[in-house]
């Protein structure tokens, strides 16, 4: 399979603080690849380096076959949507688009087909200044501007941060359609639940990759049993589970607590008896599959 991005031991420090620590990975042609991790994990720095906006201290990468020093070649082959809105607020929607087309030596007409599906939603506002658009519309315009020169690799830095759950869902559906068109996409996000939208993900924390695989593989590799528990006293439940023998970790997950245990220690009956004895009622216990968030926390706790 063709690899569109191959990174080899990319390292970057800022005033002695390591932002990226020997990051290596590869992304295949047509893949939707996610970097999942919190703010400060190094996601934006990595994307800046791969789009040649910033230099790495050491390590190298091939982007669409070109090493990072071939800036001009890479820039014409990648689309990059930074986390912060970075279009010209005083130019209209159409002017922004034309500007980006021109910079890349093309025209909006020539490549209209590649943005048509997204742009039709913006068309009613084409004369509005970009700065006056709603958040969702700004994002669509930024995406159009990143796509107008038909890039072979698209980098999206936290496109869904601070976006409500429904709009996030819609954004991922849009990405799925772009992927179907054959585009290779690298996207970063702090939302663990979005991992399932990607073909493969890298879990990243403090400049290190904790794990790379398909979301399904990551969750199936989870070495512990996960049990979801609920009772009529959730605060007390957390305390009681935290002091229980044989448990590895206890974390809140919405209306349930997730407790992880070594496989040999699991007994739902024992757990239920223990909780009854502690005075819990309306107890609900179920064995569940680990989520990506369970895995992330497990890997985080082990790496510290």
């Amino acid at each position: 399979m063709n690899q569109r991005v191959v990174a080899n031991k990319i390292t970057k420090k800022f005033r002695g603080v390591t932002a990226l620590d020997e990051i290596s990975f590869s992304v295949n042609e047509g893949e939707l690849f996610g970097f999942i991790g919190p703010d400060g994990a190094g996601k934006s720095t990595l994307f800046r380096i791969l789009t040649t906006v910033m230099n790495a201290d050491s390590g190298d990468a091939l982007v669409d076959g070109f090493p990072l020093k071939e800036e001009i070649k890479i820039r014409s082959r990648v689309g990059y949507m930074p986390g912060k809105f970075s279009l010209y607020p005083d130019l209209s929607v159409q002017e922004n688009l034309e500007f980006f087309a021109k910079v890349f030596g093309t025209t909006v007409q020539e490549n209209y087909s590649s943005i048509k599906e997204i742009y039709v939603q913006l068309e009613p506002f084409k004369d509005r200044r970009a700065g006056k658009l709603s958040g969702g519309m700004k994002q669509k315009l930024a995406l159009c501007c990143a796509l107008i020169h038909k890039p072979r690799v698209l980098f999206l830095d936290e496109p869904t941060t601070g976006v409500d759950p429904v709009s996030r869902r819609e954004f991922w559906e849009m990405l799925a359609r772009l992927k179907q068109g054959g585009l290779t996409i690298l996207v970063s996000t702090p939302y663990m639940d979005e991992a399932s939208r990607c073909d493969r993900v890298a879990l990243i924390q403090k400049g290190k990759i904790l794990e790379i695989d398909s979301p399904k593989e990551i969750t199936s590799k989870f070495p512990l049993n996960v049990i979801a528990v609920k009772s009529n006293q959730m605060l007390k439940l957390k305390e009681d589970l935290s002091t229980m023998e044989g448990k590895e970790s206890v974390h809140g997950f919405g209306e349930f607590m997730h407790i992880t245990m070594k496989k040999e220690n699991v007994s739902v009956t024992d757990l239920e008896n223990y909780l009854k004895q502690k005075g819990h009622e309306q107890i609900e216990i179920k064995n569940i599959e680990a989520s990506v968030e369970d895995c992330f926390m497990y890997l985080m706790e082990r790496s510290e």
């Binding site: 919190p38 703010d39 400060g40 702090p190 605060l235 974390h251 919405g254 209306e255 968030e293 926390m297």
Partner: protein, 249 residues
């Protein structure tokens, strides 16, 4: 649990217009003292506008609202002194140290020097931040910043604290520790008014309201909301309300 708790927020037909645009459309609700109240809604639904009116920053167009016993129309300055507010992004000064930030905010809230010093020590001890005391904010880990920002927003021991997406972008463990702090504040009687885009966090609230196009379309406990809509998760409740037609953009 049978003690009758007072309403710390009372809102009746509150409205905010910008020209012809109705950003907040006749919303009414109450929040009880000590409650953890989740204020949800899609981007652009009017949450931020509503919060700005409640914390005394923006004058409503019409309606009534009382926060911590003060009228938003006439006593907005008293409101500001009696509430805490933590914005989406850190409200701490990056080039000041931990202790300088605490002193700065304490000063703004008019705490006397001896009280402020006492409070600052208490706070540093509670957070276990002794070793960071003289560290610049920009040099301390993100999770600590978040926790410090919350404590600083409550340095004057307000009756109510407004948190606008406090956990946005935070790692999953810190996100949960942050909710421990929220519960801790609530257990001491502080009312917590919080917005979030994490639907699992909405489950941690006593009650949740969901705004759609300027109106509050649902308000209840998470379990009642799920029952009402016949779904398993708050995520589904949110989707039902925010895109009632099921239409996809």
């Amino acid at each position: 649990m049978n003690t009758v708790r007072e309403n710390i927020i009372e809102v009746k037909n509150l409205e905010k217009r910008f020209g012809d645009f109705v950003a907040v459309n006749q919303i009414s609700f109450q929040v009880k003292s000590g409650e953890v109240f989740g204020f949800l809604g899609a981007n652009g639904a009017g949450k931020t506008t509503a919060i700005k009116m409640l914390i005394g920053l923006w004058m409503p167009t019409s309606g009534k609202a009382c926060v911590a016993g003060f009228d938003v129309f006439k006593e907005s300055n008293s409101i500001k002194k009696n509430i805490g507010y933590m914005a989406q992004r850190f409200s701490l000064y990056e080039d000041l140290t931990v202790i300088e930030n605490i002193q700065f905010y304490g000063g703004i809230y008019g705490l006397r020097k001896n009280i402020l010093n006492e409070r600052a020590e208490e706070l540093i001890a509670e957070l276990g931040m002794e070793s960071f005391r003289k560290e610049l904010i920009k040099n301390i880990p993100l999770g600590w910043k978040q926790k410090l920002a919350l404590s600083v927003a409550m340095i004057h021991k307000p009756k109510i604290v407004f948190l606008d997406e406090p956990t946005s972008g935070v790692d999953p463990i810190t996100r949960r520790q942050f909710w421990d702090l929220i519960y801790n504040a609530a257990s001491k009687g502080t009312t917590v008014f919080v917005t979030t885009h994490y639907m699992d966090e909405s489950e941690y609230c006593d009650r949740v309201s969901i705004m759609v196009d300027g109106k509050i379309e649902a308000l209840d406990t998470p379990s009642n909301l799920k029952k009402q809509f016949g779904v398993q998760s708050m995520d589904e409740v949110f989707v039902r309300l925010a895109r009632p037609s099921g239409a996809h953009v």
